[in-house]
Structures are given as structure tokens and as C-alpha cells.
Amino acid sequence: MSEKALGGRPLAEVVPLSQLGRTTRLQKIRVAPTLAAGLVLLVLVIVVAITAPLLTPYDPIEQQFTEAFLPPFSTGHILGTDNFGRDIWSRIAFSTRLDLQIGLLSVSFPFVFGSLIGIATGYLGGTLDTILMRIVDVLMAFPFLILVIAIMSILGPGLTNLYIAVGVVGWIPYARITRGETLATRHLEYVLAARTIGCSSARIMLRHILPNVIAPALIYVFTGMVLAILTGATLSFLGLGPQPPTPEWGAMIAEGRQYLLLAWWMTTLPGLALLVVGVALSLIGDGLAERRGG
């Protein structure tokens, strides 16, 4: 519906909607250095992940026993080598792919599934709400990591099972966030209006409520990714994640631990890589939250 169709009344005193949006966005970007810093870091990490084979001449799993335990800044090995003489930079770079993949994949299913559950229970209410929210309560009562480890020990170690385990537990926060938002939204005029004109419940939930409640869940995705990557690293550390010799930060930290007094770089450098990605994603999450809240 354009303004003309409404009868040609001039809208001089009303700022055009498009313009309002633009100035707001510009203002927010100016006041959100957190978001900018996070994005720059993340782009950097993604570039490393994509160009990993170009950044290093070494195969991350190739063993070179004569070059074991070289410290950082050795000739040919900028970050040194591990106990098998494998290049640490090469392992960290290749691991970036895996860890980003862990972050992305183990968050996407919980995000989609959890958000839909949250909207459905929030909007429909009744018995469905009671049952699903009790399930959520039960799952919430378990410490996240313990539950994931329990599921992993039943399914066995490996990457696919890691996604399943994190997925089974990870949808809960999304369900809770979107349910809360939906509860606040369901009595607003536009929802009532949609109902009045006879929209089906499915249509109302997907077309009217979802776009308005998804933002907080989307922001939580970044927190979820950090948690997923850390969980992946923790499980690798415990031997439940990707199996050796696959390069993965958590596994590298665990492998290096034995040689901590001999070769600090084996543990510290992958730890720093984990730190960078964690900080990048958290900054983005924070930045988005500030934008929304501010």
C-alpha cells in the first residue's frame, strides 16, 4: 500500500520510514565498536579458515620426527612444531575450519528447532506448553556439559555424535527465549488483528510472530557458537571429539599438556586461537544486543 493509495494526504510531518531506518542504523554503528571489532576478528578467522592450505606449506598431520619440539619463530615453522614434528601454525589454521564448522553446525539445528518450539508453546499454550516446558525444566536441571558427555559416552566419540549430543541439549535456551518473547507478543494488536481476519495459527506464528521474536534468539546464536566451540574443545580434550590425528584446538591443548614444561607453545597457541574466536563471536553477540537494547 503506497501513500498515494491512502488518499494523497501529504505526510510532511512524518519522517519517511526508509530514512528513519537508515539514520538509526548509522547511529548504532557509530556507537557499537564492540560489534565492529567482533566482525573484523571474525572475518579474519574466516579468511584463515578458507585460505588455510595457501597459508602454510605443511600438511597438518604429516609427521617429521627430526623436527619435533621446535619453538615458535624457528626457520620454516613460525609457531614451532609439536612432538611429532607437525607444524603448529598449519594445525591451528586447518583446525579453524573444523572449529568454525562445529560452532555453526551444532548451533543451527538447536536454533531452528528451539525457536519453533518456543514460538509454538508460547502462542498455543495449554497442554503442549506444559509438557514441553517441563521437559525443558528437566533438561535445564542437568549441567550442560555433563549431559553432553553422558550422551557422547552412549553414542561413542566422533564429530557426528558431537553434533547430535550438542543438538539434543542445545535447543533449550532458544526455546526459552522465543517462548518468552512470544508470550509478550501474542496479545499485541497486530497478532489480534491477524487472528480477527482469520489467519491460521501456523500462519500467525510463522509470518507475524516469528519475525518479531527471532532477534533475541539470533543474538543468542553467537553466544551459542562460543559455547559449542568450547564444548567441542572440551570434549576433544577429554578424547570424545574428533579423533587423532585430526587437528582440533581442544585436542591440541590436551596433547600438548603432557609436554607443558618442555614445549609451552603446544598448549598455549591453540588456546589463544580458541580465545580469539571466542572473543570475536562474543563481541558480535554483545554488539547486536547493545544495538537492540540501546
Binding site: F65, T223, V226, Q243, L260, S282, A289
Partner: protein, 528 residues
């Protein structure tokens, strides 16, 4: 609220990333919160030891099947005979002399004069009978098989014990020198077999050994007090205080910092570094231990000896010894560790990739195959070995799928036969090869030739014959043949002979790990 919550992951990420490696599970907290008795020149001499594991078996010699418990046992409970320090021979223990009848069926042991238990009561032949009867026939004994040749034990008088065998049994003296034959007062020995026996009671010990314990509970340091009645003379150290520090790095740091006088299981990677520092020493002692990979010979193509031999030849032992064990290990040339009747002339499988490729091309595995290698989580030496083998065996077209699993799961799997390969290690508990040969080479029944499912009836017969042979020379020849047959069949991938490591401060004197990996505190001194 939401925005505030968002910040916690940043902190979480930062803290976790930096600390995940450094924060190892360790007992340091409990150790620092407890008051430590400190030895001064005037006070009692306390030896503070940090050890990698704490006991879990009931503390009764014949019920023990874990190293931490048996390491304590040899300090508390004496055996009739003892294994010599090199782990190859047998020397007098509680019995000062012994003789056998001409047919080798009746053995008479004479106890030393004046031996007393830690509470001052005298050792009698009836105590020896009471304990050994429990070891060979007690409900809860874990070592009955070793004693099955014994028909009867009698206490002839207070100082004479007679053992009658149902058939000649060459390893008898070695069995009597094993920790499982530790002597308790007869009534105490009998009580341990009762159904409702409280295992914590066993930690209030009464043995004839150099030390005794007044009680222990899990998580606490084990405190051993010296036995002033000890028959070899009162030990120099008043008290040994053993705490449980599972993390290797923490243990080494405690030694360097002077919080511990003595630590065991120093990582192979740190022996050289420790010896370069003042105030501490570290050493690898030769023990009868071997490291290898178990192959499941019932799973094709591992049922083909050529495949197994090819895997053996394709394994670069020197690379593993250097990379995994930091040079603190030796090439494994025979299926049994370097103890009695070990055949040092056997060739083992020196690294030869061409020979390996040739053997593989003639075998049923020539098209290449995939095999799992189940690794116990937490064992870095096994994990590192697996990583090296994965790359090495890929050259033969073998794809190794490394699976890190909980130790209990790996154990269940290999017992049930649900595995293709798994790295493992063996330590002799007695100085006679009968133990490893019966466990690792005899097929047909549990433990199925070290769970390899290798079963050679001809070899089984030879193993039985070797147990009966009384002539040492002939036995040696029989064991040489047994070793050769098993080596050629290659149900294992033979890798290395390992040592046991320990580190101590310079003021500690006389610490020694013997050939069977025991250590006794009776000869240890602290110079303050």
C-alpha cells in the same frame, strides 16, 4: 539482562582457553590444605612421596591386582622368598633355606629365627600356612591359578613349612616370591575371606615387612610407619607419606619445588631435563615390561599371519622409542620381557618397509583394508603410538581408525572380541616366564592368548610341558622355542621394552625400582 548475560561467554572463553590446558585434575588442593609434617634434624625423618595413582584393590596380598596396592604390599607384607633386585632370580625371604624331595613334589621351608610382626607377636609356620591357603584357595583370591599345583601345605612345627605338590611345578619358587604370597597372621588372613569383611580394615596392617599402616581411606595420603621389629634391621626413615598426584606435570613441579622428596612415573620427556637441574635426580630403571599392539587374529584379514608380519615390519620401533618414549625404551626382540629365559638372540621385527610391502602383497590384505585401533583415553603413550602407526601403516594400504575410548570400554571390547587392534603393555609379576606365556600365548580359553584369539594347540602343549620341566637348561630351550613360534605368528605388533621412571631430591639415597617394578623403602635414607 540479556546484554549482561552476553558478556559472560567472553570471560568464559578467555578463562577456559587459557586454563583448559594448565588446569589439570590434581590433588594439589587437598595436599596444600592439610598440615604437612616437616622433618627437621631433630624430628622424625619423613619421606614425602607423590605417586600417580592410588590403590583400589582390597589391601590383602592375594586380592591385589593393581600396581599402587602391590607397591605398598611389598613394603608391608613379606613373602617366603624374594625376587632378586634384578628381577631374574629368587633369594631367601622369611624362609632362610629350603629343600625339595628328589621327585620335586615335596618342598620344606625353614623360617628365620626371631621374626616378628609389626605388633611384636612372633611369626609362626601356621601363619604361613594360613596365608598361603587363602592365596591358593580363598574365595576372593585373584591369583589362585598360580598355586594350583599345590596339593597341601602343613606347618610341621613353628619354624617349618611343608608344601606338597600334585605334580612337579618348576615356577613354584617364583610363585612363592610373588607379592600375592604375602604373609599375614593366620587369624587375620582367614578373616579377609569372610563375605561381610570390611575392606577398609585391611589397611590396618600387621605384617613382618619394613613398614606398617595404621589405616587409610581413599583420598588421604598413605602413611607408612617403620616396623621397629623388622628382621633386616629398623629402617632409616621413620615415616613414608605417599600422596596421590595424578597429573604428571604437577608431580614433577612438586619435586622441583621441594614439596615432595620422591615421585614416580616421571614423564619420559622430562628425565633429561630434570637431570640437568641441581638438587634433583631422575632415572629410568630396567623392569620387565613391554609395549605392543594387540591384533584380533579372528578378524579378517588379521587372521592371515602375513598381514600381521607386514604390520610388524612396517612399524618403525626406533621412531616410536624416540618420539613416544624419548629414548627411554629398547627394541622388543621377543614376545616376553627381559627376564628369566628371555631369548636375546631372537630378531624381532626390525623396521623394513620393503619387506612389509612384499608380505602384504602376498597376503589376503593386499587390496588394503580398514581397521580400528581402540586407545584408552588418558594414556598419552598409547595415543601417540597410535598416531604414528596410522601414518606408518597407511603406506601398506591400511587405514587405521583411531578410537579414543574409556579404559573400561576398551577392556570390555577386547574381552568380547569387538576390536581389531589396541595398544597395550605388560609387566611381569613374577620372575618366571610361566605367567606371561600362559596369559599371552595359550589359546582356546580366556584370556585367549592376550585376547588376540590366537590359538595354536601345538604351542599350548609346549607351554604345559615347560611348566612341568624341572631341569633349568631344558626349560630354557623350551621357552626359546615358545618365544620363536609366537614371534613368527605375530599376534601382536611388538614394539618396545619399557622402563620405570622415578625422580627424587638429592637428599634421598638408596631408592631403587627392581626388575618387577616394585620399590622397597627399607634401604632408603634421607640425609638432612
Amino acid at each position: 539482562m540479556l546484554a549482561r548475560n552476553m558478556r559472560s561467554p567472553v570471560i568464559l572463553a578467555a578463562v577456559a582457553a587459557l586454563l583448559i590446558g594448565a588446569c589439570a585434575p590434581s590433588g594439589t588442593q587437598s595436599a596444600t590444605t592439610q598440615p604437612q609434617p616437616t622433618a627437621t634434624s631433630t624430628g622424625p625423618k619423613v619421606l614425602k612421596m607423590a605417586r600417580n595413582a592410588e590403590p583400589f584393590s582390597p589391601f590383602v596380598p592375594w586380592q591385589i591386582d593393581d600396581n599402587p596396592a602391590l607397591f605398598i604390599s611389598v613394603n608391608v607384607y613379606d613373602t617366603l622368598l624374594r625376587t632378586t633386585k634384578d628381577g631374574v632370580g629368587v633369594e631367601p625371604g622369611l624362609a632362610s633355606k629350603w629343600e625339595s624331595s628328589a621327585d620335586g613334589l615335596t618342598w620344606t621351608f625353614t623360617l628365620r629365627d626371631g621374626i616378628k610382626f609389626s605388633d611384636g607377636s612372633a611369626l609362626k609356620a601356621s601363619d604361613v600356612k594360613g596365608s598361603l591357603d587363602m592365596a591358593r584357595g580363598g574365595e576372593k583370591s585373584a591369583w589362585k591359578d598360580n598355586y594350583k599345583a599345590i596339593k597341601e601345605i602343613t606347618a610341621v612345627d613353628d619354624k617349618t613349612v611343608k608344601i606338597v605338590l600334585s605334580q612337579p611345578y618348576a615356577p613354584l619358587l617364583s610363585v612363592l616370591a610373588m607379592f600375592s604370597g604375602g604373609i599375614l597372621p593366620a587369624d587375620m588372613a582367614k578373616a579377609t575371606d569372610a563375605k561381610d569383611y570390611d575392606n577398609t580394615m585391611a589397611w590396618k596392617t600387621k605384617g613382618t615387612g619394613a613398614y606398617y599402616s595404621e589405616g587409610w581411606k581413599k583420598g588421604d595420603p598413605i602413611i607408612l610407619k617403620r616396623n621397629t621389629n623388622y628382621w633386616k634391621g629398623t629402617p632409616a626413615v621413620d615415616e613414608v607419606r605417599i600422596e596421590y598426584i595424578p597429573d604428571d606435570n604437577t608431580r614433577v613441579l612438586k619435586l622441583q619445588g621441594g614439596e615432595s622428596d620422591l615421585v614416580d612415573f616421571v614423564p619420559f620427556s622430562q628425565i633429561a631435563a630434570l637431570n640437568g637441574q641441581s638438587g634433583v635426580k631422575a632415572q629410568t630403571f630396567t623392569i620387565q615390561q613391554s609395549a605392543f599392539v594387540i591384533l584380533n587374529t579372528s578378524k579378517p584379514p588379521l587372521d592371515d599371519a602375513k598381514v600381521r608380519q607386514a604390520l610388524n615390519y612396517a612399524t618403525d620401533k626406533d621412531a616410536i622409542i624416540k618420539t613416544v618414549y624419548f629414548g627411554q625404551a629398547k627394541f622388543m626382540n621377543s614376545p616376553i620381557p627381559q627376564g628369566t629365559y628371555w631369548d636375546k638372540s631372537l630378531p624381532g621385527y626390525p623396521y623394513d618397509i620393503e619387506k612389509a610391502k612384499k608380505l602384504m602383497s602376498e597376503s589376503s590384505g593386499k587390496a588394503g583394508f580398514k581397521m580400528d585401533m581402540q586407545v584408552r583415553s588418558g594414556n598419552t603413550n598409547f595415543a601417540n603410538t597410535a598416531v604414528i602407526l596410522k601414518e606408518a601403516w597407511a603406506k601398506l594400504g591400511v587405514t587405521v581408525d583411531i578410537q579414543t575410548l574409556d579404559t573400561a570400554v576398551v577392556r570390555t571390547n577386547y574381552r568380547a572380541g569387538n576390536f581389531m587392534s589396541t595398544p597395550s603393555a605388560w609387566t611381569n609379576d613374577m620372575n618366571d616366564p610361566t605367567e606371561i606365556v600362559n596369559y599371552a600365548m595359550r589359546g582356546g580359553a580366556s584370556p585367549f592368548s592376550y585376547w588376540t584369539r590366537y590359538n595354536n594347540p601345538d604351542l599350548n602343549d609346549k607351554i604345559t610341558k615347560a611348566d612341568l620341566e624341572q631341569d633349568a637348561k631344558k626349560r630354557e630351550a623350551q621357552y626359546s622355542e615358545i618365544q620363536k613360534i609366537y614371534l613368527d605368528a605375530a599376534p601382536l605388533v611388538f614394539i618396545a621394552y619399557l622402563g620405570a621412571t622415578a625422580g627424587w631430591r638429592n637428599n634421598v639415597d638408596g631408592f631403587f625400582i627392581d626388575g618387577l617394578s616394585y620399590y622397597r623403602f627399607e634401604d632408603v635414607k634421607i640425609n638432612k
